[in-house]
Symmetry: C2
Amino acid sequence: MKAKSHISGGHAASASDVARRAGVSRSAVSRTFTDGASVSPDTRAKVLRAAEELHYHVNFLARGLSKQESRPVCILVSNLHKPYHAQLLDHITTALQKAQRISIIINVGDDPAAASGALEQTLNYRASATIVLSGAPPAHMVRRCVELGQSVILVNRADDLPDVRHISIDYETAMRTAVQMFMRAGCRNIALVSRAVRTPSLLAREEFFTQYLSEQGITLQIWRGASTTYETGQHAMRELLVGLHPPDGVFFINDLMACGGIDTARREFKRRLPEDLCILGFDDIAQAAWSGYDLTTFAQPYSEIADAVVQNLSNAAPARLTLTARPVWRGTMRS
Amino acid sequence: MKAKSHISGGHAASASDVARRAGVSRSAVSRTFTDGASVSPDTRAKVLRAAEELHYHVNFLARGLSKQESRPVCILVSNLHKPYHAQLLDHITTALQKAQRISIIINVGDDPAAASGALEQTLNYRASATIVLSGAPPAHMVRRCVELGQSVILVNRADDLPDVRHISIDYETAMRTAVQMFMRAGCRNIALVSRAVRTPSLLAREEFFTQYLSEQGITLQIWRGASTTYETGQHAMRELLVGLHPPDGVFFINDLMACGGIDTARREFKRRLPEDLCILGFDDIAQAAWSGYDLTTFAQPYSEIADAVVQNLSNAAPARLTLTARPVWRGTMRS
DNA sequence: CTGAAAGCGCTTACAG
DNA sequence: CTGAAAGCGCTTACAG
C-alpha cells in the first residue's frame, strides 16, 4: 500500500521520510549510510528496514553538496567514435566506477573553441577533478581552469603545465625503439605520417622519432594530413607510393591511419607486408590485432592509465606520471 | 588581488558572494542566470559584472536539487570498446550536450548481475531519465526502476515493457529486405551467425530473418557463439566453411562479427567476396566502410536515435518510436 | 551512540 | 522588478 502510493506520488523517499518511519532522527539515517559513522546496531537495523520499505536511495548529488569526496568527476573526451578514445574511456569509466566515483562525460569536438567552452562548463559541476582525454583544449584554457580552483588531470598530453597532474607516455624511449625496429628491418627510406595540427602528444612522437632517425643518417619524409582518420591514412599511402621516393617503411602516428595505409598498400598497390613495405603504428587499438591488419604497433597502457587516474583523485599518485608504451610485434614489420 | 585571494582560498564563489559584491539579493543573482526570469537590465548588469570578477559559475548540481529540469541524465552503457556502442554513445552525448543536459555515464559490463546493480544505482542520482544502451540489464530490473519512479528510455531493445519509452528499429522490414538481398544474390545455402545469449534486439533480428527465409523454402543453418566479437566471427566462419554444408551466404547479426568472418574467409579459406560467398552485416560501424571490409550492411540510424533520445526527455516523442535501418550496399553482396 | 541545528548552493512562491 | 523566507536532500560539528 505504502509503496504504491509512494510510486504514484512520483516523489522519491528522502532521508526525512525514512527517519520518520523508523522513529529516529535524520542524522541517524545519514549515519547509517555513511561508512564508519557511529550508529548502534539497533537503530541501524531500524533505519535499514524503513529504507527498504520506502525504497530509499541516498541522493548522491545532494550528498556532494556537503561532502567533498563524493563530488563527480568530469571527463572531457572527443572523437568517441575513434577506437583509441573509446577504449581509453572504457577503461577509465570502469576504473572510476570501481572506485565509487560518478563520471560526468563532456563530449567536446575536435574544435579548440568548443573544447574551451566545455572545459569552462566543467566548473559548473564543482567536479572534484576534470580528466582531459582530448588533445583539443588549448593550454591556456587548462591553465585558466586550474586558476579557478579546478583540479585537472591531463592524460596523454605531452605538454607540461604547472599545477596540473599529468599522466603521459615515455615517448622518448618508445620512439628510440621505433627507430631501432625500422633499422633492424632494413628500412632505409622512411616516411612519417602525421597530422598538420598537432596535439602535444602527436608532436612528441613526431619529434623524438625524427630526432632518433636523423642520428642514423636515414632519409625521412614527413607527410601531414588534415586529420588522423582511416581515410587520411589511405590518402597518405597513395601519395607516398606514387611519389618520387616511395618509402620502404612507414610510421603512422596512430593505428587508425595505419589501418588505412595498410589497406591501400595491399589492395591498391599490391604491396606485400612486410616484404615490400614495413608499417608501424601507435596505440594498439583493437583493429590492430585483427587478422586483416596484424599491425605491429606500440600499446597504450590503457589499464595503467585508468588506475593512475583513480589514484590521482586522492593524490595517491605523483603529479607527473610517465608510463611506458611497449612494442607489440605483429606481422607488418620484418624482425 | 581579489581574484588571487579567492583562488588561494580554493573555494569557488557562490551566489551569495556575488550578491554581496553586487549589492543585491541572492534571488537577483539566481534570476540573472535563469532564462526568462524578470530582472531589470540594471541589476542584471551589476550581477553579471560581479560574477565576472569573482569567476562565478552556477553550481548545476545544487540547481538540480530544486529544479527538476536540470537534473542529469544517466546513460547505461556496456562494451564501450566495441564500435557500435562507442558510436552510439558519441551521438547521444553530443545531442544531450546540445540540449544542455548533463550526462552521467555508468559503464556496466556484459554481466546481467552487474548491470542490475548499475541500474539500481541510477536511482541515487535522481536522474531525470535513464537511457539504457546496453542489452544487459534484464527486463525485471528495468521494470523495478520504473516502479520506483525512474523514467527509463530503452534504446534498441526490442522488448516491450509497460511505462517505458522505447526507441527501436523496425527489424521486420529490415530482415525482409535482408532475405531479399540474399535471394537476389542467388544464395541458396544460408547461414546465420548469432550469439547464444540473445538480447531482445538480437533475438528480433534472428527471428524475423529466420521467418522470412523459411517462407522462401531455403536451407538455413544457425551458428551461435558465446559473444559478438571479431574473434567469434572468425570462429564461426571457420566452422561453417569446414562444415558439411558450407554456405554461399552468411548473415552476421552484427558488423563486428562480420569483419572477423570476412578476414577468415578471405585469408584462411581464399574465398572471393562476393563471388564465392556473400556476407551481410548489421550496424554499419565505421569499419564496415573501410576498404579492407567494404561490408554490405544495415545502417543504424545513429543520429535519429540520438535526436529521439533528446525529444523523449521532454516527452516530445511518442513513447514507442520505431526507426528504420536502411541497407548500405557495398562489396560483400552480389546485386 | 544520538538529536537539534547549521550549513552546502541553489530556486521559487510570496509579498511588496 | 525585488528581497526575505522556505525548501530541495544531504552531512557534520556540537552537546548531551
